[in-house]
Symmetry: C2
Subunit: 718 residues, 2 copies
């Protein structure tokens, strides 16, 4: 079978996730052993394809005919499971290749996770797989399975066969087998419909992003849940996120290594690049994935999505039987940015009539009086529905089991569920399974902790926004200048590069002598700054290379004279390209626009307000390059200090459109040079009052050897 | 019975919480009704005191002899429960007074929570109670109960009679009945030993702080849990916190109304003052209470405390069977400020030998290999114990139910529990009650979600620190100057007040004419600023009343001339007291020290770095006045920008001791004037380089009519 006949692109993964036949290399007759389990599952759950146990020492394995080697098995096998010791893997892979097998799931561990020698072994198996067009899951995986397709290519000990009916189906992809198994088990406990689980382990070939893309295209998956330790390829990850957005499938991700301590632990555990966490944050926000911060949050959000209510803007009303609970929920909602619209005056009057001792604001407090008069609860809910509230968060605590109020509460909620299926009912209650099952059957979301209910509703709101806007379109960068490689630009040359990208500069002059400096100052006609120009001097002030507020031509000349004497002593190896005479600028707000080359994501733009705001307050925001002007403006708005730009304390508002244009230009320049740019920083970029533009006051540009664009890793053979 | 015989102070609450006899006014024969329940509970759980049902229309109530009125009942009754309609309450209270009853628990609602008219009714009952020395719990409460004393002065429907044995006992005090009931039920579900529950409702008399103090003194309570909507008296609240600290009883509080939205909901719900949330934060931190942010967090922390392990510094080691879980836990620990000390090189070598595929750092990853070889787990734990780790957080996920590893894991953990009772074992696992009960019996803390385990361990660390330091001692303020009441000070007078408190000023001169200004500038001998002096002008710049960097005496004179012409036009009603000529100061870091009069907590000191840091970044910290210098320094360290004071980017370190002295002086001045101070702000307070002190560049002082010190509310009659 030749390579050309293989399906290409994401369809090549069908052989792993929907194999029509599976060989188990080293199959065990013991259904509890790792290499016995896939066969046991296939038989127990009724896998409809063919299973070929490979075992040289047995005639049958678990009642199936066994083959002494792959060579002896029938042709046309889709997928082979390899669970052999690491030393035997390469030979087995060659046998798979010889047999024309399309996919291998490699349970075996002992590769890149063990360091350099393991990494080399892993690269070898990647080479073999790619040379023969084999898609490989692993090594170091517990495999994958799909309930609705009855496909169990896994040794996970407690997989299930039954899928809860009528719920959105979840596809779970995890780089860690342990985490995948854990979250799967927790999801089952929560009654979630996990149809498909894939662990990608060391990702010698198949990466998490590809699995996400495959799930986005799969009719079996409605919600994608992912666990990330480190992404290997930006391109396939973004393709996965884009596919999910295109198909309107929510993506809920847990990405560990958020702190330095975590990243250190991640590095010792996987072969993955950790990636700067803030960059992950920026990317996930941009592509509309939800980043959860704990397993519980993953499950809460997926649980809320599993209610299957359309993701659209809702009017949220909160009803409590305890004022204190209402205060808590208002706190949580405020923190989560979840709006609680006030009822109109008329509605408030009506609510006050219904519950005179309560509170008619939102949260609406019906008080524990409902134990005496459950009609208060019913009438309040109906009034809120009339007033257009189509999402109700009810704090009922133990009231649902109250002797008097329990039954009427239940009847009201069930009636709303039946007559107003568009309404999302979320309930905080305490009660055993006999209570919760009733409310869950009515399609309600149940939470014990109000904070978690609010967080889950905020996640639904997040997705509603995500799916109401298009994904970012990266602006074209082909017209931008390609920078010379391996160059550290001096300030003048760096600014020339910026000017070429459309960023304005001051009316500055490069001079070489004190006399020229005086002449330049005279031409400029107001106080000037003089700075040494040298690509070799990083911190000009440290060597006395900056003189500010020089009021006269004589002072400018004197500054150059001093620098010419002093700097060669302080920085004897620095080549001095001259001195820059610039008008002093006392206006505007100083900002920093920087670009660094993330090893995984390529050029990443950072924006911050100058000085203390960046260095002490770490008030900065990141985005992937390139950005268009809207994206640049959003970046600016994400720093807390952006108020300084919008007319703070009587200052004139700054020229935000010009700032956005400048950031976008810088980001495009960086993206064009993604294969060589090491650093680009405009600091300060001075933003003048509205209509007056921005000016780059200083700039650093540094390039390295051009390589393969880091943002576009070598294409897979698929 | 006369008032003098009553116990005073906190012992007066014994009549409520440990009554030797209870009258139920309006007692019902129906054990399910509100005024039937206390009698039913007393009988069911075996209350050892006397119960006197008061009911004019029955001979017996629930089998007990009933009395037609309180007058007819025996003398010497400790406590009366009143559950009558609001209109009958005052008469009943008078009857209690006539009978010499010491305590009343008032279930009835319809008082301050209903607004002004209700507030007046409530004040009336407070007056009656205080006049007759009756301690009153309520109105609007579900009452209180104590399991170990078999005392049930409550109508809460599902109280319990059994207390889990051998655990620290919890006293729960809540301003909200609904919340109290809710958290009580959740605590029971978690198996916590809640011995005493008190709800304080509208707090017409007994306040939450007093209950905390009573619980601190009670031998029945080891851990105090409180739910706060708004504190009424700072003094009793602080007495409660101090008593708990003195008795080394951890206090875990939930305070709602943290956000503006929440505070608005709180205001509509209770008659309480919300208090500025940041002030609560400051106060709780200072007095060592733990502020939880959700019910779940309350319970998690109390659950961790319930393990009953000594609160002392522990060496925390994390062991996982999945590297990903380790990364998560490292992230969570880093966020929570929980240190994970690295094992020594020798220990790491030993761990690597035990688990070659794992990671020997902390978190230690033993990998899923333990399913094949559980001895890896056992040996790893023993090695960590040898290395001094006496707190172990183990992420075991589903491994505890693993066919091979489950039993050895359990045996190891049980052995450690038996042989090393000093060690705190915390486990993340998934499993049913049959699994969890085994590990809980071994004294382990169990969590499903690692984030919550880490948070709970961080809370234990918090308490360990709390109990290892003394509570703050408020410095004496009696020597500080008493300010004139009802005065808005002009800048010169305000600065004089500061100078009197020991805060340094510039060498400034108050002048009245241009000629005097020129003379002053000449004397000063360097560039000066000129500012108008007027108590009537809040924002001097707005009326042209500030001129900076005046280089010559002539410019100073000219500035005064201009102001004298311009300001009377712009601020025609302002009385101008002259002009202040000050040397320009171009050195130092500008800060703000402000004091505002919190209606509940009295003078509260705010510290921030000047300008943008305060106004845009809201980077400020609060503390109650007065502070000593150590407290002032801690306040400074709590702002994120304090790095600017410690030698940021080559600047000289600022004079922190002088700053601390100045803040402490200002706080003492404010505390001395707590009954009249409305506002005090030094802005900027310029902090000079080390050894050079601080200088107040501008100041505002404003006083009102002297009243009762708001920080010391009228003493209770007790």
């Amino acid at each position: 079978m030749s390579q050309r006949e293989f399906p290409s692109g994401i369809r090549s993964l069908d052989a792993v996730f929907r194999p029509r036949s599976i060989a188990v290399v080293g199959a065990s007759d013991d259904p509890t052993r790792i290499n016995g389990r896939p066969i046991a599952f296939a038989r127990r759950f009724g896998y409809e394809g063919a299973i070929y146990p490979i075992n040289p020492s047995r005639q049958t394995v678990q009642g199936l005919r066994a083959y002494p080697s792959l060579r002896d098995a029938p042709d046309g096998i889709d997928c082979a499971i390899i669970a052999l010791p690491a030393a035997l893997v390469i030979d087995a892979l060659h046998q798979c290749a010889g047999k024309g097998i399309r996919a291998v799931v490699l349970f075996t561990s002992g590769f890149a996770e063990l360091g350099e020698a393991g990494q080399r072994k892993q690269e070898e198996i990647t080479r073999i797989a790619r040379a023969h067009g084999i898609r490989l899951l692993g090594p170091n995986v517990i495999g994958c399975f799909c309930l609705s397709r009855k496909t169990y290519v896994t040794f996970l000990s407690d997989v299930d066969g039954a899928l809860p009916a009528g719920k959105p189906r979840i596809g779970l992809v995890s780089q860690s087998g342990g985490y995948g198994a854990h979250i799967y088990k927790l999801a089952l406990q929560r009654g979630l419909a996990v149809d498909q689980v894939v662990t990608t382990g060391n990702e010698a070939d198949i990466e998490l992003g590809e699995v996400m893309e495959w799930m986005a295209e799969s009719p079996d998956v409605d919600i994608i849940v992912g666990y990330i330790e480190g992404i290997r390829s930006k391109a396939s990850f973004i393709r996965g996120l884009e596919a999910a957005h295109r198909k309107r499938k929510p993506v809920v991700l847990m990405k560990v290594g958020a702190t330095q301590a975590g990243a250190a632990a991640a590095a010792s555990h996987t072969a993955a690049l950790a990636g700067a966490d803030a960059v992950y944050d920026a990317l996930l926000r941009e592509y509309g994935a939800y980043r959860a911060r704990s397993n519980e949050e993953v499950l809460d959000v997926v649980y809320a999505l599993s209610a299957g209510k359309p993701l659209r803007k809702r009017k949220l009303g909160v009803v409590t039987i305890s004022g204190g609970a209402g205060v808590q929920i208002a706190d949580f909602a405020s923190e989560a940015g979840l709006d609680l619209p006030m009822p109109s005056e008329a509605t408030q009057r009506a609510l006050r009539e219904i519950a005179p001792f309560g509170s008619p604001a939102n949260p609406v407090d019906v008080t524990a009086q409902i134990s005496n008069d459950p009609e208060i609860f019913t009438a309040t809910l109906d009034r809120l529905l009339d007033a257009g509230y189509d999402s109700l968060l009810m704090w009922l605590g133990p009231a649902v089991t109250n002797a008097r109020a329990g039954a009427p509460i239940r009847a009201t909620i069930e009636r709303i569920a039946a007559t107003r299926p568009d309404v999302l009912q979320t309930i905080n209650l305490i009660g055993g399974a006999e209570v919760t099952s009733v409310y869950e059957a009515a399609g309600c979301l149940l939470f014990e902790e109000p904070r978690r209910a609010v967080q889950a509703l905020a996640a639904l709101r997040y997705f509603e926004r995500v799916f109401s806007r298009p994904l970012p379109v990266r602006p074209d960068v082909s017209q931008m200048t390609l920078l010379a490689p391996d160059t550290t630009y001096n300030e003048v040359d760096a600014k020339r590069v910026l000017a070429g990208a459309g960023v304005a500069l001051l009316d500055e002059r490069l001079v070489h002598t004190p006399a020229q400096a005086a002449e330049a100052a005279r031409e400029i006609g107001r106080p000037v700054a003089v700075k040494v120009v040298s690509a070799d001097i990083q911190h000009k002030s440290d060597v006395g290379g900056v003189a500010l507020s020089l009021a006269s031509p004589e002072e400018a000349a004197q500054a150059v004279r001093r620098m010419a004497g002093e700097i060669p002593r302080k920085a004897p190896t620095a080549r001095i390209d001259g001195y820059l005479v610039s008008p002093m600028l006392n206006d505007g707000v100083e900002c920093i626009v920087g670009v660094h080359a993330d090893p995984l994501f390529g050029p990443v733009v950072m924006f911050g307000l100058g000085g203390v705001m960046v260095e002490v307050m770490q008030d900065v925001a990141f985005a992937l390059a390139p950005l268009d002007e809207a994206g640049a403006l959003e970046l600016v708005r994400r720093v807390k200090g952006h108020r300084l730009l919008t007319g703070f304390r009587g200052r004139p508002p700054a020229d935000l459109p010009a700032l956005a244009r400048a950031i976008a230009s810088i980001s495009r320049l960086a993206a064009r040079n993604a294969d060589r740019l090491q650093a680009l920083e405009v600091n300060p970029l001075c933003v003048l009052p509205e209509g007056q533009g921005v000016v780059a006051l200083d700039a650093v540009v540094q390039t390295g050897a051009p390589g393969l664009p880091i943002a576009h890793p070598p294409a897979k053979q698929d």
